[in-house]
Amino acid sequence: MKVGEKKKELLINLLSLVGFVLLWQAILILTREGIFSIPFIRLRDIPTPVETWNALLGSMFTHTYGPSLTYGIYNHVFASLERVIEGGIIAFIIGVPVGIGVGYSKLIGNIFNPLIEIVRNMPPMAWIPIAIFIFVSGGSIFIVFIGVVFPIILNTIQGVRSTDERLLDAAKTLGASESMIVTKVVIPSAFPSIMTGLRIGLGVGWMAIVAAEMVIRSPVGLGYFIWNMGDLGRYAEMIAGMIVIGVIGYMMNISILLLQRRFIKWAD
């Protein structure tokens, strides 16, 4: 893509965001003036972008009022991220070997496939109630694990199965052992696909963690923050928290894409 075209794209992206914020502000001004309304929706209770921005700034860092200490969004983000990373690492450690096994060996595939096919169709949120009862702690990490592990397994299987036959034949002709074929040919070939699985999985995990934190309570976490603000009728802080969730999810996706491009040059 030419540099000029890229700049143009960026400009359109930026303008669309600014346009959305202006539209949001305009609708709320019209609503508050009594000119615009939608039945069954209390539009007037939605904070304006300016109120949301102020709420975001006001709740970014931990602050105290007398004995009351309110953790900042900053603390909540790190608590949620920590859970996603922990769940993601466990899912990676378990998901990649399972995916390689299932993808490479028909026998292992036949053993695991029925289980994978049934369990992967249970959404992470469906695991929340059972996680509350069976985990003394770490229930939220388990929910993330469920969200991340299946995209990793499925993409690993796909990556392994799409290994170039010529490479496999060449390795065999040169006398490579089975383990050498897996480590030197299959895994490097499947790695871009594994990373795609990780990227998709972390996206699912990030959505799952927020839902899990709303039910599996702990002192910090973005899901918990949003509910708490709702209990206090602080709608601007709720929206600010939701925006932070969206931005962090987007940044996670972009970071892994960039890492993928930087380190897995053979992917292209």
């Binding site: 009594g34 109120e51 007398g66 004995p67 953790y71 309570r217 702990s218 209990d231 009728g233």
Partner: protein, 369 residues
């Protein structure tokens, strides 16, 4: 070039060592001012998690403290009466939209206050173990509180002071506390137009219905009953013994006697007062309900759309004073020992939240929510 790489490596190593040492040090040294972490949960969860050691304590309305204590899972640390003697707690409130839309709302509210008075007098009499009504009251308490153990029912009744009077001075104090703890949204407070806490309390609480009830308490129900019976959609909190007067009035037919049919409001019983205010009163699914005074105070400001006052409620009678308890694991002996630990509570903006902050304030402790 090689030298500069060496120097760079040494600098990185030193920074890394300091960082690791710092981390280890911070783990070893207990931070004195570590806050007590309040975590929102249901009463059932509090009992279960106290039993498994997942939380070190909880602050909750009766009967949950009594159940935890009678099961031997924990012990009372502080009764809310020790934090603030005779503090108001749950109240009877009406929705302003219902009030405006109903022709004889004043007459209904007078009779609601009268039923509250009669129920409270029944409970206070039946609380005595030699009363003929004692067993009936214990049954009501177990049914409403979701209990199976009469000992827990007796214990929970002992901790609650049932009242019908409104209390404007103490409501003013509550408003001041809520201001001090930074719970009001400043812009919303400005929109409300109240000059100060006392101004707000006077706008919120009305004594005239209780005054009428006191003057008519001995009147024959057939004389003061509404000529045309009305149906009131009533909201209340789940298993909250503070609101036992409502259940007693309902079960013993006191409401029916004065021409009021109780219909349980959509969504009731509610998990906490914040939810009752936002999903019940604000959505106009409740005409009259009982809940803690702090959620009323907070949400008539924070959740209100002042253009149509959709969360405006008025308080017509008290329900109870005191009756919340900080229960802790058996090995804990003071509030200070809860620093850095997790304590269950029914949610931000509830009376238990405000009371816990007041208790912590006395001891110079911090509480995170």
């Amino acid at each position: 070039m090689k030298n500069s790489i060496k120097i760079f490596s040494i600098v990185i190593f030193v920074i890394f060592t300091i960082f690791v040492a710092g981390c280890l040090q911070s783990k070893q040294t207990p931070v004195v001012s570590e806050p007590i972490n309040l975590v929102k949960m249901s009463g059932q969860e509090m009992i279960q998690k106290l039993g498994t050691g997942e939380i070190s304590g909880f602050i909750m309305w009766e009967p949950y403290p009594a159940i935890a204590v009678t099961k031997g899972l924990g012990k009372d640390l502080i009764l809310s009466g020790k934090i603030w003697k005779d503090h108001p707690c749950c109240v009877v409130a009406y929705d302003q939209d219902w009030y405006k839309a109903t022709n004889n709302s004043d007459e209904i509210l007078k009779r609601m206050a009268l039923v509250q008075l009669r129920s409270v007098e029944y409970i206070n009499n039946a609380k005595q173990s030699d009363s003929n009504d004692h067993n009936e009251l214990i049954n009501f308490t177990m049914q409403f509180g979701g209990m199976t153990d009469p000992a827990a029912a007796n214990l929970s009744l002992a901790d609650v002071e049932f009242v019908y009077n409104t209390n404007i001075p103490d409501t003013t104090t509550f408003i001041r506390k809520i201001q001090d703890f930074g719970i009001f949204v400043p812009e919303k407070w400005n929109q409300s137009g109240y000059k100060n806490a006392s101004d707000y309390a006077n706008s919120l609480v009305t004594n005239k219905y209780v005054d009428w009830a006191i003057n008519n308490k001995d009147a024959n129900s057939s004389i003061i009953s509404l000529k045309e019976p009305v149906t009131v959609r009533y909201g209340y909190l789940i298993n909250d013994i503070h609101e036992l007067p409502f259940y007693v009035g309902w079960q013993k037919g006191y409401y029916r006697d004065v021409g009021i049919n109780i219909s349980i409001a959509e969504g009731a019983p509610f998990q906490n007062g914040a939810f009752e205010m936002q999903k019940g009163f604000k959505s106009n699914t409740i005409d009259i309900g009982s809940l803690g005074i702090p959620p009323v105070i907070i949400h008539r400001i924070n959740s209100n759309d002042f253009s149509n006052d959709d969360t405006r409620v008025g308080v017509i009678a008290g329900m109870n004073n005191e009756g919340s308890i900080i229960v802790v694991a058996n090995n804990i002996t003071s509030l200070k020992e809860l620093s850095g630990k997790t304590v269950g509570f029914p949610g931000p903006g509830t009376i238990q939240h405000v009371l816990f902050l007041m208790a912590a304030d006395k001891e110079g402790l911090k509480v995170s929510v």
